[in-house]
């Protein structure tokens, strides 16, 4: 596409792509040009005037960040004229910069410090007093020290160009220019920490790690974040086994150096004081701390007794998808081979399993789109309006595609197009926003498919007649009028969106928990797969489907055989293992006598089912967790496990990218990694197994040894994900009979007090673990209910006032927060705090995958009466 140009920089000939800014060309030629306002992620602004270079045949010095390299240029970066100009700029900057480097958290990694050493004159020409700003309170997480600011506006531009949040702006004029929220108010934004990372000086620093470190003291460990499926590379910086700060190096990892609030401020959970440090066993009503040897022995003795009396099928195990691939592999090996039970499941059962099994059935793989495809796409069809909250970094890729590369965004979700101030929101960026009623996703997909099939130009293609006939039949049940009534979207809107998606050169389909974690999840994934096939947006380079995961190793948990359907490497398991809800039912029936839960807390995640009764019937409940969760509190044996920062291994993110996790700090107290615990358990079981039973080895030196075994065990490595293989699989699939249940139509709300309630993930939290991080609880510390201002006005409820949500006999009181993004008539409650709100919602199970759906329901809302 782009040609190459030849130019000379400091006497050295160099060839660069045309359009490269001179500052980058000089870097390639080995000359670093001092700069402040330039940043590779941002458009050039050329406001700091530091990167001036001399170009022959140009009368004036040019800013190298905004001058593209051109053929035959002769550039001098260190001539006397350049040096003089840079010294001038530097003396202006230093003229106002306070000499508080010893106190400044940026000291040691400060660009101004570094460049001042190279470029500043020894003496300042100024005798005037330095400017002094009044100190302002800027919020609990970000510290603003405007005296240090060099007004490069990188933070303002990052907040706008990359994050699309616009929380920062420059206020006042001239030498008193400062950065801040408009009208000097306290910062209320997404708190991604990007401004802190991008600030070249110490004007914006982290309040959470303020004064705790000096950059040269920290031990940096590059690892993978565990707060969502995006798989961001994170640098944990620790001093004396305490994580003091996190950062991400520019351009590294799948996130290319960007982080979200959970990655940047969520490290407080790692060394939290409530962490479990010793194994415990229950004796009567007491929990006793015990040695590892004693705990493992008592657990194995009890397990063995149960296996002997009731058979191996009376043991079940559930592992969290926050564990590493090696641990999940070893866990299923322990249960399947060590004990001999088929009942293995993981927390992907809460939704992500729908995406994997559905896509696997149609395409034979789930690695269909990568972030590069998202960024490079020209049309994006996104069924995840909450993506900026659940998967902020994947959402950054969508924003990049839309804002930098002018991609067309089609957003289908139950949110309004408006966003709250200083929050990014995908529907706002959408060209076509199909604002559906809550719970109408399946009909919206049917509508899109129907519109696609009726468009004669777009639907033509060499599809197998059987496939076309079956899909046509499946969407023919509803007319567009009926779909309009149920979803709120007209035929015209469907046709436009379908035409845009099918007409794309590189179309990418993204869906999240709105599809996978809600009613008809599995069928909707298959419907979406059909839609992508019909639109011919899969199986070609640049196109594909990306399923968003809420857990960091959701993909890996399934690939490692952490569920009853698959053995490691997606080979189908024979024998009927129970899924997580099935296991709890079996516990209640008395079929399963022992349950091994690793990082799982069914008492919290499945509150409607009679989990308490099921678990209390068990003869043995082993819990392995970081904190004493509700389930661990009633367990017979509790093993203290370690967080992601204390172990080695690999996570697989939602794209299917396997990434290394490295140990940053030593485990707290006597806690052990899950890998060590499984090895100990396995060895104890193998040594106590009866003669004649072939013993399985659980002797591993480290996670690397387990990984080697995985690689050797998995048949033919992992499934191939080449475009040809996908097309071949689709061709085979198209010849089969497809059975799809018709979509369910959600009944209309009857009276204005009725609201559609959605329980889901908030931006500032992820699961339960993040509620232990003080940086995140400062932003959101308890459950709230989001309500559209029109509803709160109608009900006469003010922000912060308590309302009662009622469904059936259950009631929950929550404070109201108004939000423009939720639709009128719907409510949103974050799932991380309140267990009670989930009890209001109905519980349904997916007929195919058994996924429990309990995030949506209908409640009546009344104002709290003050008596």
């Amino acid at each position: 596409m782009a040609g190459f140009v030849h130019l000379t920089i400091d006497g050295q000939g160099i060839e660069v792509e045309s359009g490269t800014p001179l500052i980058e060309a000089a870097k390639q030629a080995g000359a670093e040009i001092a700069h402040f306002c330039y940043h590779p992620k941002l458009k050039p602004d050329a406001n700091c005037r530091m990167c001036l270079v001399e170009i022959e045949k140009m009368p004036k010095l040019q800013t190298s960040c905004s001058t593209p390299a051109a053929e035959g240029m002769v550039v001098h970066t260190a001539s006397n004229r350049v040096k003089q100009a840079q010294e001038g700029v530097m003396s202006f900057l230093l003229g106002n910069h306070p000499l508080d480097c010893p106190e400044c958290d940026q000291g040691g990694e400060c660009q101004l410090q570094d460049f001042a050493h190279q470029h500043s004159p020894t003496l300042s020409p100024f005798s005037e007093e330095k400017r002094v700003f009044d100190k302002e309170y800027f919020g609990p997480l970000i510290e603003k020290e405007m005296n240090r600011c060099v007004s490069c506006l990188r933070c303002v531009r990052y907040c706008d160009e990359v994050l699309d949040v616009n929380a920062l702006g420059s206020i006042d004029r001239g030498t008193m220019t400062q950065i801040g929220g408009f009208a000097h108010h306290e910062l209320d934004c997404e708190f991604c920490g990007g401004c802190i990372q991008i600030c070249p000086v110490g004007a914006l620093t982290s309040r959470l790690s303020m004064y705790d470190y000096r950059p040269w003291q920290v031990k940096k460990t590059e690892t993978i974040c565990n707060y969502c499926g995006d798989g961001c590379e994170l640098t944990l910086e620790s001093i004396n086994n305490t994580v003091v700060r996190t950062s991400s190096k520019l351009g590294t990892g799948r996130n290319t150096g960007d982080l979200c609030v959970r990655g940047f401020f969520g490290y407080g959970a790692i060394g939290h004081k409530d962490r479990l440090t010793r194994p415990m066993i229950r004796r009567g009503n007491h929990r006793l701390q015990i040695t590892w040897k004693g705990a493992v022995e008592s657990a194995v003795a009890a397990l063995k007794k149960i296996v002997e009396t009731h058979g191996p099928g009376s043991v079940g195990g559930v592992i969290s998808a926050h564990c590493t691939n090696e641990e999940i592999y070893l866990f299923q090996k322990l249960l399947r081979q060590g004990i001999g039970t088929p009942h293995v499941d993981s927390s992907t059962r809460y939704g992500y399993v729908n995406a994997i099994t559905g896509l696997h059935k149609v395409f034979g793989t789930t690695r269909l789109a990568r972030y590069e495809d998202v960024v490079g796409a020209d049309v994006l069809l996104v069924f995840a309006g909450e993506m900026t909250e659940t998967n902020p970094i994947a959402a950054l890729k969508v924003k990049e595609a839309v804002r930098k590369h002018n991609a067309t965004l089609i957003a289908v979700d139950a949110y309004t197009k408006q966003s709250d101030p200083f929050r990014s929101h995908l529907p706002r960026l959408a060209k076509y926003h199909l604002q559906i009623l809550q719970g109408a996703e399946s009909l919206a997909i049917v509508g899109l498919t129907k519109a696609l099939l009726e468009n004669p130009v777009l639907s033509e293609g060499d599809f197998s007649p059987l496939f076309l006939e079956q899909v046509t039949k499946s969407v023919a049940l509803f007319s567009f009028e009926e779909i309009h009534a149920a979803t709120g979207i007209s035929q015209e809107a469907f046709s436009q969106a379908a035409a845009a998606y099918a007409g794309a050169t590189r179309g990418v389909l993204i869906f999240g928990r709105a599809i996978t974690g809600s009613e008809e999840g599995y069928i909707n994934v298959v419907r979406l797969a059909h839609l992508a096939i019909l639109a011919k947006q899969v199986g070609r380079p640049g196109t594909g489907i990306l399923a968003l995961a809420s857990e960091n190793n959701a993909y890996g948990a399934i690939a490692m055989g952490g569920l009853p359907e698959y053995l490691p490497g997606f080979s189908p398991a024979n024998g009927a293992g129970y899924t997580l809800p099935g296991m709890l039912d079996a516990c209640e029936r008395g079929e399963i006598k022992a349950l091994y839960l690793v990082g799982e807390n069914p008492l919290r995640s499945l509150p409607q089912k009679n989990v308490q009764a099921a678990l209390s019937k068990l003869d043995l409940l082993i819990c392995q967790d970081l904190f004493l969760s509700e389930t661990a509190a009633i367990a017979h044996v509790v093993f203290p496990a370690v967080s992601f920062a204390e172990k080695e291994g690999r996570f697989t993110n939602q794209e299917g990218e396997v990434q290394r996790v490295r140990k940053a700090v030593e485990p707290v107290g006597n806690a052990k990694t899950d890998l060590e615990i499984f090895s100990m358990m396995g060895a104890a079981i193998a040594s106590s197994s009866a003669a004649g039973v072939p013993a399985v080895s659980f002797d591993y030196a480290n996670s690397e040894a387990v990984w080697r075994e995985i690689m050797a065990t998995v048949p033919d490595g992992f499934h191939t994900d080449s475009a040809e293989a996908v097309s071949q699989h689709v061709a085979v699939y198209a010849q089969q009979a497809i059975e799809l249940a018709p979509p369910v139509v959600i009944s209309k709300r009857r009276n204005p007090d009725e609201f559609d309630l959605q329980v889901g993930q908030a931006l500032f939290h992820s699961g339960r673990m993040s509620t232990y991080a003080s940086g995140l609880t400062t932003l959101l510390s308890s459950a709230i209910v989001l309500m559209h201002p029109s509803d709160s006005d109608r009900m006469g409820v003010e922000e912060g006032e308590q309302v009662t949500l009622r469904a059936g006999s259950g009631t929950v009181c929550l404070p109201v927060k108004t939000s423009l993004k939720v639709q009128p008539g719907t409510l949103f409650v974050p799932e991380h705090f309140s267990l009670d709100v989930k009890r209001l919602l109905p519980l349904a199970f997916d007929p195919t995958t058994g996924v429990p759906y309990s995030t949506r329901g209908r409640v009546t809302v009344s104002k709290q009466k003050i008596s």
Binding site: C101, P102, E103, G107, V132, D134, K135, Y137, P140, L141, R207, L208, M210, Y211, D212, Y213, R214, W216, Q217, F265, G268, S774, G775, T777, T778
Partner: protein
């Protein structure tokens, strides 16, 4: 010649000569031995003894906890744990400052590295002890030594006064942080 040599040999002249020196020192020369615990030498200017912490004239400590001394120390005997002053928000101090005198080589690099002149080499050299642990000094011990040897204190600079006023104002307003929650 031989006779002279012979007579010296006979009359032990070498011994007499040697004893002469002894007698001279015994009865006539001033003693060179110092009665150390009772008598002390005056130390030369710039003598580098134990490192101490200094205060400003209003008795506030000078140290800002920047850890530059720790970075400069060739024998790694300084440990600085910096943090926010609990009594004054936004002010950086050394929460802990530990000097391991047993490791210290008294090079004085830390004194040179200190950007606020909070450290000084004291003339203290009497650190012999039966308990080695007492040689690991904390900030309080170093400040006490500093008070003993450096009674003349520097005036607090004006720029610090300005910032102090700001700190006090901020303290009144209150600056809630996530960190206070973490420490609570």
């Amino acid at each position: 010649m031989n006779l002279v040599k012979w007579s010296k040999w006979v009359f032990f002249s070498e011994i007499v000569k040697g004893l002469g020196v002894t007698v001279k020192h015994l009865f006539f020369a001033k003693p060179v031995t110092e009665q150390y615990p009772h008598q002390k030498r005056t130390l030369p200017e710039g003598y580098r003894g134990v490192i101490v912490h200094l205060r400003y004239d209003d008795l506030t400590e000078k140290c800002v906890g920047c850890s530059l001394c720790e970075a400069a120390c060739p024998s790694h005997c300084i440990t600085v744990v910096s943090g926010e002053d609990p009594h004054m928000p936004q002010r950086r101090i050394a929460k802990e400052y530990i000097l391991d005198v047993t490791k210290c080589v008294f090079c004085g690099f830390c004194v040179q590295a200190c950007p606020v002149d909070a450290l000084a080499s004291s003339p203290e050299y009497e650190m012999a002890t039966g308990n080695k642990r007492s040689l690991i000094m904390d900030k309080e011990a170093m400040l006490a030594l500093g008070d003993r040897y450096f009674p003349v204190r520097q005036k607090r600079p004006k720029y610090l006064d300005e910032r102090l006023a700001l700190f006090k104002k901020m303290q009144r307003i209150g600056f809630p942080t996530a960190k206070q929650e973490q420490q609570a």
